[in-house]
Every structure is written in C-alpha cells, then in structure tokens.
C-alpha cells in the first residue's frame, strides 16, 4: 500500500471520508505513470503494450514511461532480477515518491520463474513490496493490461485516514492467524 499522506488523514471517519477516498482513488488510478524497469523478455512485451497500436496503453494515460523514478507512480518489474541488480531495484523503488505501487510482471519477477538457481532473486517481493503478481513467460500484453486494470480497481478501493488504519489492522491480524501454505494438506486444502 502507499504511505501516509497529508490532510486527508485528519478527516474523521464518515460520509465525508468515503467521498474523499473515492475521489482520491479515482484521481490516483487514472494516468498512473510507470517507471521504466524493463529487464528481460517481459520488457519487450511491456514495450509492445506501450507502443504497439493493438495494445494501446495510452487509453489509460500510461504511455509516458517516466525514466526518472521521482516522477513515476508505478514500477512494473518486467523480467528476471539477478542478485547484482537487486540493490539497484531497491534504490529505484526508494527513489519513487509515495504513493507508489509495484506490479511483478512475469514468472521470474513473481517467484524466480524457471531459474531456480544462485543468480536470480526468487521473487522480487524479497526486495520490494508487490501489489499485483502477474504470471506468464512472458505474459501476453492483454494479461499485462488486465493486471493494470486490477491494480486500478485496487487503487480505487484504497482507504484513507482512520479507515486505513482499521484495514491495516485487519490485514495484519488475518496474516498472523493464517495457516502457512506448507500445513495445508489434502486435496481440498
């Protein structure tokens, strides 16, 4: 999720806060500007989404891939992140201004993909917090657009102020009480 912001945090919970949330969410999700973080094969599909007329990303206002992370809202990690590249990834993420979101595009960014070895970080969520995981090798441009739309709805539904604190509390509690994956056994787990 994004980080704490300014005045809107102080609005008391109620009708006014929900209207402000919806307005802020609507503003934030339209024309998210991605930061260029194309690494490998997924980057080419990302370029196809950006530049091929068939998968026009300009309809969402996102065709401006900002080179400077200071001006970007969204980091699409497209491609395999090697151990040498991981500190660079973290530095770029840190340089982005809040609110910021991350899409892990492709199998290699989500989980290390087919490269389960010494050189690749097994999932970019070891380095940055990820909002949407997009599987595929490489994912079709339509799949990337679908991930972006899901991110849009996620951003639209983000809560602010006291509602946000409540949501964060709930999510943490659910995570602490959740059954770890390795303990879910049986076919109906």
């Amino acid at each position: 999720m994004g980080l704490k912001m300014g005045l809107e945090e102080k609005i008391p919970s109620g009708f006014v806060l929900t209207t402000v949330e919806k307005l802020a969410g609507y503003m934030r999700k339209n024309s998210l500007w991605p930061a260029t973080f194309g690494l490998a094969c997924c980057a080419i599909e990302m370029m196809a989404v950006g530049s091929a007329a068939k998968y026009d990303i300009s309809r969402f206002g996102m065709e401006v891939f900002r080179a400077s992370p200071r001006q970007a809202d969204l980091m699409i990690v497209a491609g395999r992140v090697s151990n040498k590249m991981a500190p660079v990834l973290r530095q770029i993420y840190d340089q982005m201004a809040a609110p910021k979101w991350v899409i892990a595009m492709g199998a290699c960014a989500s989980s290390g993909g087919m490269f389960n070895n010494y050189a690749i970080v097994q999932g970019v969520d070891h380095v940055v917090p990820v909002d949407i995981y997009l599987p595929g090798c490489p994912p079709r441009p339509e799949m990337l657009l679908d991930a972006i739309l899901k991110l849009h709805s996620k951003i639209y539904d983000e809560k602010l102020g006291s509602n946000r604190a409540e949501i964060i509390r709930e999510v943490e509690l659910a995570a602490m009480n959740a059954k770890p994956t390795i303990e879910m056994k049986g076919l109906l787990a």
Partner: protein, 209 residues
C-alpha cells in the same frame, strides 16, 4: 546389466537416482593422420610456421568434423600469434571453460574457437590446467576481443589469465565468493513450497542417467 539400448542404469550400476557415483567425461585419445578436409593443411602449415610444434601441441583430435589442438599453457601465446599471422586465423570466438573434476591434474580446460576470414576455416584450441595451479597466459594481446571472455571464464571457473589488463568479475557481483560454473559449486536453488509439500531444486532431484 549390459550397456545396450537407451534405458536402464549405466555401467556404474548406480540405481539410486541421486548420481552420487562420479562419471569420467574427458576423452584421452588422439587422432591419426590423415585428418581429412582442410585439417591436414592446417596441421602442416602450423608445423612449418612453428617448428616447436611437437613441444607445444599435446595432441590433435579430429571429431565430428572439427579439429581440436590441445596446446600446452606456456606456449599458448606463441602458437596463437603464429596462427593469427601465418595461418590467418584473424578472429577468436572467445574463451570458454569446462570443468572436468574427474580428470585429475587437468581439471580446468579453456577452449578457444578460432575463425579464419580469409580461408573460411574453423579450428579449436584447448588448454588444460590443474585445479591447484589454474594459470593460463592471456591472449588479449593477440585477439583483443578475448578481454571480456577471459574475465567471464575467470568469474565462472577461477582460471587466472596471466597478463590480462584487468581480471575482475564480470557477470557476478564484485564481491561474490566462489566460481559458479564449476562442478563442485551447487546450483543454489531453493525448494519450492506447495500446499503440504515441497519440490526440491533441480540439483537435488532424483534422476536416472
């Protein structure tokens, strides 16, 4: 159990599937004259241009239509200069290392494919060094394109090229320990976790060779 056919445990009889028994890989034979094709010409030209041929070249192997000259490490630069200038092998396609841990005393091989633009020929040079003293003279002064290739071979195998202008790691981070493509360096994968079970990484899985 015989070795015929595709299936079944190979000659070592290791049926556990974990491959703990080591197989030998390197071939040791040498080819007989005539070599066929342009290989005889190359060998003759080299002998004429480089009189110390029998001292420097350990063996000549012709296999699957390709000529491999096994060269002694100390003489590599001289032989390379002769090949480049007299025999017109202007381009070297790089260096690659191979690690044969079973071949004691010659565990690390460096392979140099060469290409002649004028004569349209390809040959290969191979140098073997032991693990205990992995030094090979650098051929960067002969073919400048080998600069990064030698750095990569050093990075991946630990072969030290004497005389290289800047032998540092190139593919791994600068402070990495170990040489990844050696056979004794684990693949480094982690087990993948599913609901209720894990899949081991490829280097720890059972396989029947």
């Amino acid at each position: 159990m015989s070795d015929q056919g595709m299936f079944g445990a190979p000659g070592t009889g290791d049926t556990s599937g974990y491959g703990g028994l080591v197989r030998t890989a390197a071939s040791t034979g040498s080819s007989e004259r005539p070599y066929g094709g342009y290989f005889d010409e190359v060998a003759d030209d080299l002998e004429r241009a480089y009189p110390l041929f029998s001292e420097a070249i350990e063996r000549v192997v012709v296999d699957r239509g390709e000529l491999t000259l096994h060269v002694k490490g100390e003489k590599l630069v001289e032989v390379s200069k002769v090949l480049r200038d007299s025999l017109k092998f202007e381009m070297c396609m790089g260096v690659s290392g191979v690690n044969y841990p079973a071949d004691s005393g010659r565990e690390l091989h460096a392979v140099y494919p060469l290409l002649s633009l004028t004569n349209n020929r390809r040959i290969r040079l191979e140098v073997s060094v032991p693990d205990s003293n992995p030094h090979i003279p650098s051929v960067v002064e002969v073919w400048a394109g080998n600069n990064w290739h030698e750095r990569e071979t050093f990075d991946m195998f630990g072969i030290i090229f004497d005389g290289h202008p800047g032998l540092t790691r190139i593919l791994m981070p600068d402070d990495w320990q170990g040489h990844p493509q050696r056979k004794d360096y684990a693949l480094g994968g982690i087990p993948v976790e599913y609901k209720g079970a894990t899949t081991p990484p490829p280097n720890e899985r059972r396989s029947y060779k």
